[in-house]
């Protein structure tokens, strides 16, 4: 069992390549943290620094309040599942599972017992004699998990463990991992570029971009209170619609000009006071699922020019512009996610409705104009 602390940790490869910039992060004992971000955002670097496979250029990494910067991977009592599993191809599954124990000089009898236990846990008993080559992707994945769990590490690291599996297997193993973590209560750091994995697995999710931590929080916090435009558009599928806007007061009411249309904002709207005080608001953000096709009390109406409709079965994605082709102020394509089938043709103009309370406001520098969400670098207690 272990807590982890990153204190202003940076990793630079040379003057121009910063893989990780001043990361500070506290991870609680038994917590499941997911690092998510586009490729090259530094999330794998965090894992590799913690594992000791790379040395930080600056800052301190501590496991259980003990600084481990100078410890070799061998001395850190961590286990890792690699993206390509990194099973030892010349060893049987049994030997792969036994390897970490052998390296720690465990007795033969004890090794056997422990390997059988793990094989039982991960449903590998029938595969023990096989070589990695003879295993399917999902089986390899389980062996890799087994090898990581076998010696009871204090920290469990997973580097995109599901990215080589097909979609069906992925969701199944995702559930298995969640269950396993719940049962074993190991401090776990999970790296992925897949936001569904991030949202479903993490107690807290850290969103990274270009070597910087953008926001860390519960999946709900990330979804409902994104700290900046990057998080807003990264989390959610499709991502949040973002467009430039100008907020102005008229007749004691607030209005927002968006793509040639004006939204009237009633004073009851969440964040109204902040909005009326702020002078920096430059962007408006609307989740696709915040749009609806029928009027509900308090909703504002917008005129939408439909450019495409994708019917997905349970829902439809409606692509539209807020200005017609003739006088295009702004050709931002908006996406609305509407339940059921949408009966609309391309180039048709319709009324689309929006609860002004569901709008996110961002300053021109991209930060959230309403919520100060820097709060959750510390774990929830």
């Amino acid at each position: 069992m272990a807590t982890i602390a990153f204190n202003q940790v940076s990793k630079r490869y040379d003057e121009n390549t910063t893989a990780l910039n001043a990361l500070s992060l506290q991870i609680d004992d038994g917590e499941f943290i997911v690092l998510v971000g586009p490729s090259g955002c530094g999330k794998s670097t965090v894992l590799r620094l913690l594992a000791g496979l790379e040395q930080p250029s600056e800052g301190e990494i501590a496991i259980d309040d003990k600084v481990v910067n100078d410890l070799m991977p061998q001395q850190r009592n961590i286990a890792m599942v690699f993206q390509n599993y990194a099973l030892y191809p010349h060893m049987s599954v049994r030997d792969n599972l036994a390897f970490p124990l052998r390296m720690h000089h465990m007795g033969k009898q004890a090794i056997n017992t422990r390997v059988n236990e793990i094989a039982q846990l991960l449903n590998l008993a029938e595969l023990l004699q096989r070589r990695p080559k003879q295993l399917s992707g999902g089986q390899k994945q389980r062996v890799a998990m087994g090898r990581a769990l076998v010696r009871d590490p204090s920290v469990f690291l997973l580097d995109e463990p599901l990215s080589n599996l097909d979609a069906r297997l992925r969701s199944q193993i995702r559930a298995d991992i969640a269950q396993l973590q719940l049962r074993l209560r190991k401090t776990t750091i999970y790296v992925t570029h897949d936001q569904i994995e991030a949202m479903t697995l993490g107690h807290r999710v850290a969103v990274m971009n270009r070597g910087e931590l953008q926001q860390i929080g519960t999946p709900e916090q990330l979804y409902n209170r994104p700290q900046n435009i990057f998080v807003a558009s990264f989390i959610g599928n499709p991502g949040m619609n973002i467009a430039t806007t100008e907020v102005f007061a008229q007749n004691n009411d607030l209005h927002a000009a968006v793509c040639g249309q004006t939204l009237h904002l009633p004073s009851a709207v969440q964040g109204y006071n902040e909005l009326s005080r702020s002078e920096n608001v430059g962007y408006i953000g609307v989740r696709p699922e915040a749009f609806r096709l029928s009027q509900v009390d308090g909703c504002v109406a917008l005129k939408a020019y439909i450019s495409a409709v994708e019917y997905l079965g349970a829902e439809s994605l409606v692509y539209f512009h807020l200005s017609s082709h003739d006088h295009a102020h702004d050709n931002t394509t908006w996406i609305a996610r509407i339940n059921g089938h949408v009966d609309a043709t391309i180039d048709q103009s319709i009324e689309i409705f929006l609860d002004p309370g569901a709008i996110h406001w961002f300053n021109s520098d991209g930060s959230n104009a309403i919520f100060d969400t820097c709060q959750s670098v510390q774990p929830r207690r």
């Binding site: 594992a51 000791g52 496979l53 070799m72 991977p73 061998q74 961590i78 286990a79 890792m80 690699f82 390509n84 990194a86 030892y88 191809p89 010349h90 060893m91 390897f99 970490p100 390296m103 720690h104 070589r131 080559k133 090898r147 010696r151």
Partner: protein
Amino acid sequence: MADQLHKHEHLIARLFVLPALIGLLGFVLLPFALAVTLSLTNLRLGSPLPLEFLGVEQYRRIFTDYTFLRALRNTMLFALIIVPLQTGLALSLALLINQPLRGIVVFRTVFFMPVVFPLSLVSVVWVLLFAPGSAGLLNSLLEIVSFGAWQPKDFLHDTAWALPAITLTSVWQGVGFQMVILLAALQSIPEELYQAARIDGANRRQQFVFITLPQLRNALIFVVLVTTILAFRLFDQVQIMTQGGPQYATTTIMYEAVNAAFASQQVAKGAAMTVVFFVLVLLLTLLQRFLLRQERAVA
């Protein structure tokens, strides 16, 4: 229809195989069949005696011939020493060269260079290095590093030193080749395996024993086999440096076979020796195939 197409394809396939087959027949199988046939006769160029079928007489003769037995012994001894020595050295060099250091390419080139030199040239150079008396390069070097304790030797004319001298030359010339093969194999080992092993708690030695060596297994088997076969073919260095001497201390199967067939014109005797040589190499090849197949069966 499909059947006809199939037949047609077969025919084309055979046509493609034909050139290689002709080459194999003309340059390998036919000469070997001839060698076997000749070895069962008393053929000797310029001999007035009529050609006779002698059965295994030539084999009986060479296996009771001191020189040939000595050659057999020398060859095996040479192989026995040079195979582990050269493979071990090649592996060490490959491990050294595999470091990500600046200028490592220079070393790689230097170590590999002797391989592209013709053996005869290498031999001549080493004859100069091994020159007798304190004026000889190697002798004077040894004298300097031992602060004068070294007594100059005539390496190539000393029964105790001639074979080691040839061995040294051969290792120097050949080790680069094995090194390159092992280096390629080393570089094909995924870095992730080492990372996984480090996280699993393996120290450097354990990583070498449990990751590097098993991953190099096939390359090592190949290197050992090729080195063994090349060792059995030892001829050039002997021909140029010692002519089999002194007192047969460096004679080899190939040297004896060539000598018998072309110097003493005892073609039948030489043929018998090559057949013995062939059988030895064949056995080695089969051994390698056996070892590799075992690997495939479990992989």
